[in-house]
Symmetry: C2
Subunit: 218 residues, 2 copies
Amino acid sequence: MALESYFPVWDKLTANERELLKQSAVRRILPKGTLQSTGTDGCIGLLVICSGQLRAFIVSDEGKEITLYRLFERDICLFSASCMINSIQFDITLEAEKDTELWIVPAEVYKMIMESSAAVANYTNELMATRFSEVMWLMEQILWKRFDERLAAFLLEESNLEGSNVLKITHERIAAHLGTAREVVTRMLKHFQSEGLVELARGTVELTDIKRLQELSE
Amino acid sequence: MALESYFPVWDKLTANERELLKQSAVRRILPKGTLQSTGTDGCIGLLVICSGQLRAFIVSDEGKEITLYRLFERDICLFSASCMINSIQFDITLEAEKDTELWIVPAEVYKMIMESSAAVANYTNELMATRFSEVMWLMEQILWKRFDERLAAFLLEESNLEGSNVLKITHERIAAHLGTAREVVTRMLKHFQSEGLVELARGTVELTDIKRLQELSE
């Protein structure tokens, strides 16, 4: 559970940088249900997740939410330290969906290391690009695809046909049924899994929340 | 029109890095109407815009478009070099909306410099954060706000009242009318300006495309 085993590019840090991280990082447990806003007021630092699950979402003025992505073990949350990058001009909210154990690296410490270490700065770039890609994917879904509806409908139909909630079917096969690429199916199934709708295992898709799949498909 | 006057963090580069950039960057003119896709096939390099205007957009399978943001003089396009950041998992399309003069820094050259220079890597971070913020703003608009409709309707109403297409009104005052913050009004007016709907000057908003404002407000 040591920080070095969770922190990427650790081997590219100088001895000083490692020492600084070790001394400044603090271990915390966020009990299930904890909410944490980011932005100037909530710039608590980089979160390095050891166990548990965080949901990142945005909220409208009227209180409507939309989930942007989820963070699991070994994921790193950058936006909880968004004050260290001037051009981040939006806020998100984090919710611990399970009791979540994590390291918090203070934003000013991470920023200092990032400014002198190209390795850390480039890693941060990859991190932001990952989240950016997730948000772009979500936006395309919202705008155009509704592939989630089609996939949910297909899974329910198959489940009825087979008389079982455990479908023995490959992602490839589902893709063929729905006239799309395997990668698209895999990505949406993983999204479904993170939403608790299905459970994935090798060669099978288990439908774990029929009710919500039905709502989605309608 | 030398590269160094357009390239940020030039003063933080080593002599070698400057030399490398100068030798590898090429000057191009993209005639109005030129389309350029990004992604693996279109990884042409970092675009440093000297003059003109580029539109970045995404396209659905059915050919529907949505504009993500626009790039003007001194802006830099990162996604035309997206192959240098592994985690960028989406493609966009660029369209020259005017004849556009730019420098192209080959992706492999920029990547090499970024890997060794913390200054360049951090600059790249800021650049990505800027685009990310623009996309987040757009997503919130699409999901919830429809503030564009309300603002368009307000501007048309004011124009009718005043009997003029040039409104003498501050952003502060518009915000008060619409029950929102000045920053929100300023941002949307700039968006309108980039879409050619209005022309902004100190203390005035000129309505330059009444027809499209009417379509928007309906």
